[in-house]
């Protein structure tokens, strides 16, 4: 366990110094690695730890981005403050979905459909709001300053995204070690057994979806201020939800490091293949590869890559949960 912390610390040091040595393009790839690792981690809190699969997490990204945008537009509020309001809004929407899903006992594949339904309704509503540019989408004119969360170079984004990942790692590790986390895992493994032992299943699922939704929406603020373009058709689509879940599934759901490992494996591959195939005139080919990856991972490594890494590194490198 100590060994693992030392390893992580070394990794962190390397990452902190990295901008000194690499080009802006490489930094951009790292920003995406962190961005998707953070999103995967947020999704992991709900799906990895309670087992309720959500395929509608893009909804929260959209809510986060648009809330922050509205607050900046109407009140001149800095995104640094607006993002927390967006987080609260997304968390509350998450609670509404969770209330319907968990109170009415919507489980398994039905819960997946419920989350898709809410996300699609959200997407279609945002797509028709004139204030967000309707079908054209919303172009944001950047006004570079720290307060505005908008920067000319990749370096600040790199550190902010890294901060997001570290924040999410700490949150998830704290949850995992706490009672809440134990209860979540218990109800994931056997809901009836957990309930019969007195675990308030409904309450802990609600906590999980609130934290998960709120954290996901924080990434929306980053997305907006990094790309300067918002369109519900991309940011709130099912395809984006799949992007979110792909990395934690490949890395290992229900583990602290799984989403990060998954993102380090997949994101560079995705970026390289995306630009390579687009140049070669095969746009969409990388998505075919994604699709096959998703099939192969579930068939051959249903517990994610992290299992093999753990085996390779030996017992000193495992986050232990004391029983």
């Amino acid at each position: 366990m100590k060994k693992l912390y030392i390893l992580l610390l070394i990794g962190l040091l390397v990452l902190l110094l990295l901008p000194k040595f690499v080009s802006s393009y490489v930094l951009g790839v790292f920003v995406l690695i962190f961005f998707y690792a953070y999103l995967g981690q947020s999704w992991n809190i709900l799906t990895g730890y309670t087992g309720m699969i959500s395929l509608g997490h893009s909804l929260y990204v959209g809510i986060g981005a648009y809330t922050t945008y509205l607050l900046t537009l109407a009140l001149g509020l800095s995104p640094w403050i607006g993002m927390w309001v967006g987080g609260l809004a997304a968390g509350l929407i998450g609670l509404v979905i969770g209330f319907f899903g968990f109170r009415f006992g919507v489980k398994g594949v039905y819960f997946v459909l419920l989350t898709i339904a809410f996300a699609e309704i959200g997407r279609l509503i945002f797509l028709h709001l004139k204030i967000f540019g309707s079908f054209q989408g919303l172009f944001i004119t950047p006004n570079f300053s720290f307060v505005n969360f908008q920067f000319k170079e990749n370096v600040p984004y790199y550190y902010i995204a890294l901060g997001y990942v570290i924040f999410s790692l700490i949150v998830v590790r704290l949850i995992e070690r706490s009672k809440i986390g134990r209860y979540m895992v218990a109800l994931r493994e056997d809901e009836d057994a957990a309930e019969s032992l007195g675990v308030d299943v409904f309450k802990y699922k609600m906590i999980a979806i609130f934290i998960s939704a709120a954290m996901t929406s924080l990434a929306g603020t980053f997305y907006m201020n990094y790309l300067y373009y918002l369109h519900p058709g991309t940011m709130m689509s099912i395809a984006f939800s799949i992007e979110i879940i792909l990395r934690p599934i490949i890395g290992g759901m229900g583990t602290v490091l799984g989403p990060v490992i998954g993102s380090f494996l997949i994101t560079p591959l995705a970026e390289l293949s995306r630009s390579y195939f687009a140049k070669a005139g095969y746009e969409g080919l990388h998505l075919i590869i994604y699709g096959f990856l998703l099939v192969a991972v579930v068939l051959f490594f249903p517990k994610g890559v992290i299992v093999y890494i753990k085996k390779g590194l030996g017992p000193g490198f495992i986050f232990r949960v004391r029983h």
Binding site: L55, F104, G108, V109, I242, G291, V295, V298
Partner: protein
């Protein structure tokens, strides 16, 4: 309220609902037998559309004949998909079964995009623009034809399940997998055939839709969703439910936006419910049915 317009919309929604029924029948059949939800259903339908379209462009044969080829090719694809992927995930937890099929959906969608290009195509076939008048209502001939053929195919599939040996084996395997194994049914093969029939239904439906709506590689996902909603509305695994659900959703999507706009104006809201938001109506129905009657209108058991 414009009664004539509403009736016209209801009629065209009803006719489309016949094709929806056929799509949902395929999904429901697969679910009823294997307890697996085919998340690639709509994307496979798009493949069916493109097959019929390609035949139309190459040979000029109308999609109302070539839908049979679509069905045959999709049967083969479904059979292989079941053999290679689905058969291995049958015993996985329900939620983990979702992901490989979502993956396959991405494969189908994007391979269609690479093969046939990303743009919308509206092929002109023989009946494209003709219509029949019935009193104050007009019916598009292609829509009427698609509806009639979809109903005929649905009935043939139901008869097949009822009367033939293969059909009986499929129903036996659905009822009791172990029991069917014990009496010597080759369950793996029966499952693969059943999956193939399910995707053949959606392939045929795709062919029938070619003269009615423009095709693009990305229209699959909404159809996957619509077929889920229909199947859940009718009751998972209930074939009759899939048919009735198809008509309900077809009419609701067609009339819904108009009625909701009237409702908005009625309560003094100056708000239109645009036709591009018609899916919201179906999603709303899905949420209500999941919460209020998750076994569906015709379903006996849940899940």
């Amino acid at each position: 309220m414009n009664l004539n317009l509403t009736l016209q919309l209801a009629l065209s929604g009803f006719l489309l609902g016949g094709v929806y029924s056929l799509i949902a029948l395929g999904l429901s059949l697969i679910f009823g037998v294997m307890k697996v939800i085919n998340f690639a259903h709509g994307e496979m339908m798009v493949w069916g559309m493109y097959v019929a379209y390609t035949i139309l462009v190459w040979t000029g044969i109308d999609p109302f004949f070539s839908f049979l080829v679509s069905a045959a090719i999709l049967f083969l694809l479904g059979y292989l998909l079941q053999r290679i992927v689905v058969n291995r995930i049958l015993d996985f937890p329900e939620a983990m079964q979702v992901l490989p099929l979502v993956g396959m959906a991405m494969v189908f969608e994007n391979s269609a995009r690479i093969i046939w290009g990303p743009d919308y195509i509206s092929p002109q076939s023989r009946f494209s623009l003709s219509s029949i008048s019935m009193g104050s209502l007009t019916v598009d001939t292609p829509r009427l034809l698609a509806f009639s053929l979809a109903i005929v195919i649905t009935l043939i599939v139901l008869l097949f399940l009822k009367k033939t040996d293969t059909g009986k084996a499929i129903r036996a395997a659905a009822d009791n997998r172990t029991g069917a194994l014990l009496v010597g049914t080759n369950v793996d093969k029966v499952y693969a055939v059943c999956f193939g029939i399910g995707t053949a239904c959606v392939g045929a439906a795709g062919g029938l839709l070619v003269p009615i709506m423009p095709l693009s590689p990305h229209i699959g996902a909404p159809f996957t969703m619509i077929s889920f909603i229909i199947v859940i509305l009718g009751g998972m695994g209930s074939l009759a439910g899939a048919m009735v659900g198809g008509f309900i959703i077809g009419v609701a999507e067609s009339v819904g936006p108009e009625l909701i706009t009237i409702l908005f104006h009625g309560i003094g809201l100056d708000l239109d419910f645009p036709n591009t938001m018609k899916q919201v109506v179906s999603f709303f129905i899905l949420i209500v049915i999941l919460l209020w009657r998750p076994q569906g209108l015709f379903g006996g058991r849940k899940g």
